[in-house]
Symmetry: C2
Subunit: 306 residues, 2 copies
């Protein structure tokens, strides 16, 4: 960086400085002080250069949006409303001020879409770029991963798989509209947070964000509930996006179920309940384990410590 | 890593699994749910391999302790009581299970010393090791950096400079007891959190942790309060540790004030007020800027985005 760190901090503070009514002490002290409800949800997710993003593929704005979305989706997945973020960033020193500013604008943009404020952070140097975000939200009745009841149906808020498809296509120099859409879903997904709110309001008994892939997280939910999660592959094909995703997969010679079941990084909500909005894809029954998510080859799953 | 990530997560969850009475939903969901008071302090601090630590110098246990202490000290510096931590870790894949376990034990050890629980986290891969921690605490009356009043005295909870001395000495193969003490303060400082509590209870008008160096943070406090911070170098020499630190500095041919004023990474508390515990080192007056922290050469300061 051919500028002072104090300058970077001032720039970031200005971008993040939009006041949220609950902020009592904002950026610039040892810690921020915020108004909180009796039950607070807290989650953290980091994006690592070379693992989660690559500056040759993604703009700083998109990188900022994506990691922010991952945190916000986790808060919504608990049936909660996000309120505050803190952002710890490692920079290599090779970044331009414009790149850093774009990153901050991407974070602030995604946060503002949920009326969330960035209230603090940490800026350090290192050999690679890292963005670690922690989100806080308020909740009255948390919706956990383990609350499903036998007889519940299983719903997804939209079709997963686009992010996995985008990862496969991202290095292509020429892409058509459909391929470009998939790449966009990988680089900076548009998360439908309102879908999680609708699932919670409709009485979801369990919910999670399937960013670690449907197959991994369905297994966790089934285990958590001590019940069997039985999916019906045919029901996924009813999704209006299925034929487009399938077309992409056929063109690439890939089993589309690999993307849908095991793609990962899709910020789609999976929930259980009697009658919920979204696409019904299976049912919960006495027993254990997951059925109906079989693929042609073993999945490359994404696993995080949540 | 010659083992599955699920194994690492299970190991970490077991180490961090000690139940805090306020934990409503712990590790293993999209987010943790914790009981919070109406005012919550939140702070984040990350430790980056090659910048903040080096595995050749520090044990995993010490690395974990140190970054945890940095976060806890920030919470105490706001006049707050820390309660919960989330921990995001990037590993290279070259770590042994023992190293990872030691890191987690270091974090858990420091957290437990303040009755704080680790309630969640994120585990990812990358080219270097990174530990990003976010701490939450409860506060009734936050003590900010800007609350000093003209006529207040300035106090420090103990003599800073040991961490800077330790950094200078860390690569020596043979060290005496005094040098070993300094190195220990760099690698895994013993933070006297009770000193911050005592300063808050005695009515500190402003307080901060001087991990970014006394000279940097005194300037921030003076600017925040719109007052002059006038230090008296002679008063520092009254500290019972001064002669030992000075002896080390003389031996190294270093200006001891360089370590004391500009060393950085000392988790010492700086506060203002009428009559406080700790060492009185100056006074606050009408005016602006900082006097009395002059050194023989310009400091190498540490700056973070707080």
């Amino acid at each position: 960086m051919n500028f002072d760190e104090a300058q970077v901090i001032a720039e970031l503070a200005a971008i993040f400085g939009s006041a949220h009514k609950g902020v009592i002490v904002g950026i610039g002290d040892d810690g921020a002080v915020v108004a909180t409800s009796p039950k607070t949800v807290i989650t953290t997710d980091m994006a690592v250069e070379g693992t989660h993003f690559n500056t040759a593929w993604s703009s700083a704005f998109d990188i900022g949006r994506k990691i922010t979305a991952a945190n916000l989706a986790d808060i919504y997945a608990m049936g909660a409303k996000p309120e505050y973020l803190v952002v710890a960033v490692t920079l290599t020193g090779d970044e331009s001020m414009e790149w850093i500013s774009d990153l901050a604008h991407g974070i602030a943009h995604e946060a503002a879409s949920c009326e969330v404020s960035v209230v603090g952070g940490d800026l350090t140097r290192g050999a690679i770029k890292i963005i670690a975000i922690t989100a806080l939200g308020s909740v009255e009745k948390p919706i956990t991963r383990s609350g499903a009841l036998a007889g519940d149906s299983i719903y997804i808020s939209s079709l997963p798989g686009w992010s996995g498809a985008g990862l496969k296509l991202i290095q292509r120099s020429e892409v058509d509209d459909l391929q470009a859409y998939a790449i966009e879903q990988f680089c900076a997904p548009s998360v439908d947070y309102s879908a999680a709110v609708a699932l919670a309001e409709a009485g979801a008994t369990s919910m999670c964000d399937i960013s670690d892939s449907l197959i991994t997280q369905a297994a966790q939910l089934a285990h958590g509930a001590g019940l069997a999660y039985n999916f019906d592959r045919e029901l996924f094909t009813a999704d209006p996006e299925f034929s487009a995703l399938n077309e992409l997969a056929l063109h690439e010679g890939i089993d589309v179920w690999q993307w849908i079941f095991a793609g990962g990084e899709d910020h789609v909500f999976l929930a259980t309940g009697r009658e919920l909005p979204g696409l019904r894809v299976g049912s919960v029954a006495k027993g254990e384990g997951v059925t109906g998510l079989e693929m042609k080859k073993a999945p490359d799953t994404w696993r995080h410590f949540n």
